[in-house]
Symmetry: D2
Subunit: 307 residues, 4 copies
């Protein structure tokens, strides 16, 4: 088995709990991480988009990685997002994450300054050359405003530059082409979908796993879905996805909020209601959900037997 | 069974062949339509985006529908696209299509003039009120630049305004929510995916069928996939999709063309090479593919045993 | 003087009044057109985006052009929009508009089906070859989702394909480059800005005129601005623009509406309040502004001494 | 005079020179900064988008600000960009920039994580509350993918939160509304346009100055334009803009590059050819322009008597 296939199965992007005064809430963090590991997840992705990476100062990022490594204690692989605008800054995050104990690194395309495919390719080549760890490409055009072309990804995988891809593009056709091309290349990469509402289709297509934010709230469902897929029990796979999607309505029962405040806001609200997080505190400048929105989320949780 | 479920299974959007002097090539049209019906498709969608609807004058549109109805001769349902900018113009196309014998009508959101959800809802309500035929909403934001919200679609389906949806949005999460909500509502609508590269996932999710342009080139594959899905043989479903996706590389082996010229251009080129169409002629102002691009497509067809 | 410079100065895009039952309101139409001509405008552009072109059936379009030609009666040039998705359909509109008496034709890039620059160029070349009238390119990416490149426009102008450009792109840098390149080419085209809030800057830059929707409401201001520009009195030009911009807040004092309903809705509401239009009726599926929004617009008109 | 009006006139965003091995080229930096001050610019904006801010590590940013303050030595105000994804990270840059001697700070809307207007407003309020310096909002949707609404900016200006705006939105209508509203509010903010091709129109409209990247290459032209505008000599203003625009074709005579590589690449190439910068070195992962592109830029410079 390729070492990259150490990174397969269910690998949730870990939501980061804050205290009321905007510090890392270490107690809630430990509770949530242990809860997911006990549910059987196969890895954990810290400092992803929903893990407050772009809200956290460098010092806070270091703290999160150190605590993550301490808590996980080798039970599953620790992937760390090294998200920043351009190469030199991403490299710095990479070195710091490795020093703190990360097992693998996850980087997006460069952003803010506009470029083209040549710059993206050079970016990943530099990161691979200078950082001594498996490197995942993080395809998240909604945040970086560039779609990583599957042909480039497949080629960088075949050359050993990339160990895998976390696909949050929502472009399932592109992901499907990537899966098929990676297979032709001998399956060098671990290909993980972040499209948490349609993981079942991605698994049927041959994905190596998923990175579902919703697994912070309900890890068991994604674990059961992954096991059913391994056994070819597609009816169960679909049924688990259907049920998870009902829970995912925590994203759309709120009103007056959008983006991060609605998405991660719903996660934090749910985790707080469920007693996993001590607070639903959001990072500045985002506010926690209103009481009315909190009630709407509570209703979804009750209807799905999570409360 | 709901009458709307007459519209399920494989319903290809029919590519329209042109003669060298830009007339409807009736002989090739008949050959292609019969080839798809003989392969076992469950319906045919004429004057869709890939059927030259927006290139055709009203007179040409009438001709296409009349010939379609004549050729199909009741063997499968005939769906007709009534694509135009705003309500009054769409209504006119609807009346003409029904007069020419269409079984169902397919309309997009209004386009060109900008609006909001209220205008979209009013648009579909007027079309339903004034056109006496099952009405499908055609969700194709890449052309009309508005995404139809699944909550609106589900509601219009529950109220009997919409008989179904053809989803060419590429947004599989939204489609999944729609499928689940339609199910809760008693399955009033036929929900068809146009995301031809990932039909397998849509079928696993519960879609009522597909509208794959690629079925003009290779209808048997989509028919086999649909039958396997009916039997719950998901491994076969996936295998058929994989094979079809290899053929679909006719879309990306070309260079120097884009959009309609690359997509429908590839269909016409392939159908010409395979002897189904007499010419690869495109409608003005689009040019047929170059000799070099034609060779690239021929290679794909040969590799996939279609030539 | 180039014949194209017959098309310079203030050329408002004429808003089309509807009766309560959605017919063309000929009486209001005549009143509004005469009001603008009496105010000194230099031409009139019928069936532009704000003239309901994409809402009107072909028959209605014919009616509008015929009435326009009758009312204008040669006092100023009549430009007519021949807006439709692709070449053959646009050609039909062109032939009908010329038959009805149009002096010049205005066409956008093709839309709905995606293409590239090659298709756009071919489109305009075909229109020029087959339609015997001065041809204006209408650059309106917000509706057609393609920006016409200034280098292409300048080249088509130099070759005599285009008589001019109506720029509603909002891209003043691109327009500026076009103006300078057109000048180097001997000024073959009439270059008109539709960016009604910053006409002063365009005139300083060398534009040949403007196509301001707001001139339906307040034509005198734009006429005075144009005259001041001709005399090099830039302080007056700026002052007129400032005043017109205050009136233009009819676009942003409303709430709960967007796009055409907010923009043309505000025009119709204002014209109705001012007694120019008998009704503020909008074309289906757009609704007239609410009573609350009407009051907000009334306040703007009162504050600017238009009521 | 409001202290904010210390920040008016021509305030170029300073391009940062690199040595071949990617260090700050202090000698070239000093040469370029002095050249602009000697030409009469009214301020300098360091670590703007074209100043490599998102490519520079924190340490490099500190170095640039320290050297900038040393070189400028109080001759003109020093504005510093504190560009980063979200509030806490931006605050850190703000504190470091002030410690290094910045006179004013320039911040964008939050980016990467999606949000709404409420988050943007909170972001600027926090920055103002915790950073003891005039704060400019940097409106650059092409990089941050959010347009700052002029009504919000005007309100934050009236409340003293913002000292000014650097508008790189390309939306001249929005900027115009902002200028008029700021005037009604007693002119609390300095409003600077970054739309370097149409500064003339912005000055006619009442802008307080410009932030033109092209002034790195040709500062005298922008200074003359500003002086002519102060004297109301609009014909000269327009003539200077026309001439500068000819020079600006260094942006569009290249091929095969895009975004930052084409824009800042052209600046560095020109400055190198003119002997201001020792190298045209770009920051990783961007490559310098090719020999062919360099020749194309040389031709533009020669034609405009800059070589």
């Amino acid at each position: 088995m390729s070492t990259n296939l150490a990174f397969r199965g269910v690998i949730p992007p870990v939501v980061t709990p804050d205290t009321k005064d905007h510090q890392l809430d270490v107690v809630s963090f430990e509770r949530s991480v242990n809860r997911m590991i006990n549910a059987g997840v196969d890895g954990l992705f810290f400092l992803g988009s929903s893990g407050e990476v772009v809200f956290a100062t460098d010092e806070r990022r270091d703290q999160i990685v150190r605590e993550a490594v301490r808590i996980v204690a080798g039970r599953v692989p620790v992937l760390v997002g090294i998200i920043d605008t351009q190469t030199e800054r991403v490299l710095e995050h990479g070195h710091r994450a490795l020093e703190a104990g990360a097992d693998a690194l996850v980087a997006t395309a460069p952003f803010y300054a506009l470029g083209g495919i040549a710059e993206i390719e050079e970016h990943f080549r530099i990161l691979h050359a200078e950082l001594d760890a498996p490197l995942f490409a993080y395809d998240i055009p909604v945040c970086v405003h560039t779609k990583l072309p599957w042909k480039l990804l497949a080629r960088l995988g075949a050359e050993g530059v990339l160990a895998g891809v976390k696909d949050s593009s929502g472009d399932d056709a592109s992901f499907r082409y990537l899966v098929q091309e990676n297979e032709k290349n001998g399956h060098p990469m671990a290909l993980l979908t972040g499209h948490e509402i349609v993981v079942d289709g991605a698994l049927l297509a041959g994905a190596d796993g998923s990175v579902p934010g919703l697994a912070n709230v309900e890890p068991e469902g994604y674990v059961r879905m992954w096991k059913a897929a391994q056994e070819g029990d597609w009816a169960s796979v679909k049924r688990e996805q259907d049920r998870l999607n009902e829970i995912s309505h925590i994203f759309d029962v709120t009103s007056g909020v959008q983006g991060y405040g609605a998405g991660v806001g719903a996660f934090k609200c749910a985790l707080h209601l469920m007693g996993v997080f001590d607070t639903p505190q959001m990072p500045r400048p985002v506010r926690p959900l209103s009481a009315e929105n909190t009630e709407a989320i509570r209703t979804v949780l009750v209807e799905n037997n999570l409360l």
